[in-house]
Symmetry: C2
Subunit: 306 residues, 2 copies
């Protein structure tokens, strides 16, 4: 089934307590699509500037499922750049700089060839922009959005409007608390369900995730790992694994947003994110195949089996 | 099989952001033994003062599996008293006062009738005192200890000596980090295994727990709950459920400290702790039966099933 993702593609500088990476490929759309491509084809709608390095574009070839038809290179534009520095515990970070470039201009358009997309993932963007992509996807059957504290703080009305139009929301625990004023993640999730979505996935980083769905609750630990190099992109690849799975799994196509479908999908998201964290940028994902995900899936299943 | 627990019995004042309880029954030994008694008999070795209220002693009758032979009432002594105040997120707290009373004097002795105890849980105490209980338990087959930041800071040599003599250690994540200097819980756990134990259980509160065993790793989320009244005693009842299970489960008696035995036991600990948090002191545990634990076990299993 046709999966479309909108979001950022950028150039990142990332510093951790033990190492750093400068001018590496990043952005939510890039991370998401690489992860989703392990499961099936994924269409991206994103914009970069003329300065976008050719070797970054070539690195997409490592993920042949990624369809670049919707990747716009804007004339005279600058690619989005972002830097961050992780704190000692690797669980939190400070943004060191943001150069919006083309991200601060008009968003990319959904190409006509993508108009039949059935699965839509709206990576973090201004909620008004996310709604524009919904308007351009008339055939959508499952729409899931991410968001961030910035939009909760400065565009809450738009976000509330967006929530009435999505099936699912994926966000970090502190964002869920900020959005609802509720410190308990289940309570916060229920409040978000009251705002529209059928399900909410609360991401807790190294502590796993919580699914609050109208039809049930599910809790999953993260894959227990000692190899933590760079958490950047884990949330986006988590979402990519989730949506890659739901857009291709035959057993849940009758209702891909059902509790059982999303619950299964969360495990796939957990596994692909566990690879992302093992290196900077997409370096680790470039090295693996679907068979590696399946192998770790089995290992994870044995670790969390009760 | 015979389970013995040593630790504190005290009178607590607990304040949370929304309510408070004054002069309620508390202490690690009390919480542990109440939880373990859902699984089978449990012997306590603890000391209280002459001021220990009779109605507190009577509340043990609600947990008929608890054997009070080893509960010493010390003449002229004062019962241990402790107060705490939880922070807004309920994940951390400050101690508001500590009156050691009889806890600061000579520890209770293991009665002759308990000399055949096979399962030993050493709730948080000075490591030297914990070692004294090991010396008094010649028939032990599985010894598990808890500890706290205080002993890591002021009695580390004793703690290191203790670790050579226990099969398992149960501690909070921040304590594991303090003890080992390792921020990754698995890495910290492996370091502790190198110090002696066969397994380490790293408790993460609302985020569940992690088992690092010489024969494998297991990660479990907490029971997802919105009913958080008072986290006091959750760690002790968690341990009580774990030890209650391993001391009575017939399927693992050939090797109760095995990876599969402890993994199963952690689920029981998780479930009994999820009741503890629903009220102050032992108030919620007093209301439930083993059948309630089994029912929630099944519910939890469906929430974490993958």
């Amino acid at each position: 089934m046709s999966l479309l993702v909108t979001g950022t593609i950028g150039i990142d500088d990332v510093a951790t307590p033990t190492s750093e990476a400068k001018q590496v490929l990043g952005g939510s759309c890039m991370y998401f699509s690489a992860a989703a491509s392990f499961y099936g084809p994924v269409r991206i709608v994103a914009v970069v500037g003329e300065d976008f390095p050719p070797h970054f574009r070539e690195s997409f070839t490592r993920f042949p499922g990624v369809d670049l038809t919707g990747l716009e290179t804007r004339k005279g534009g600058k690619t989005f750049r972002w830097g961050c520095k992780y704190h000692a515990n690797m669980n939190s970070r400070d943004t060191t700089f943001t150069e919006l470039g083309v991200i601060g201009e008009a968003p990319a358009k959904v190409p006509a060839a993508y108009a039949d997309s059935k699965f839509l993932f709206l990576a973090n963007s201004p909620p008004a922009v996310q709604m524009g992509f919904i308007d351009q996807s008339p055939k959508r059957v499952l729409t899931v959005a991410d968001t961030m504290d910035l939009w909760i703080n400065i565009a809450k009305d738009d976000l509330v409007a967006l929530l009435k139009r999505v099936d699912g929301l994926v966000l970090n625990f502190d964002e869920a608390e900020l959005l609802t004023g509720k410190a308990n993640p289940i309570t916060a999730g229920r409040h978000i369900l009251d705002m529209g979505p059928r399900f909410v996935v609360v991401k807790k980083g190294e502590h796993g995730c919580l699914l609050i769905h109208r039809d049930g609750i599910c809790s999953l630990p993260a894959y227990p790992t000692e190899k933590v190099v760079d958490p950047t992109g884990c949330g986006d690849t988590f979402a990519g694994g989730v949506m890659g799975f739901v857009s291709t799994d035959q057993s849940t196509q009758h209702d891909p947003g059902s509790f059982s479908s999303i619950r299964k999908a969360l495990v796939h998201g957990t596994i692909v994110a566990s690879y992302t964290i093992e290196a900077f940028s997409l370096d680790r994902l470039k090295e693996i195949k679907r068979a590696d995900l399946d192998k770790r899936y089995a290992e994870y299943a044995s670790m969390v089996r009760i």
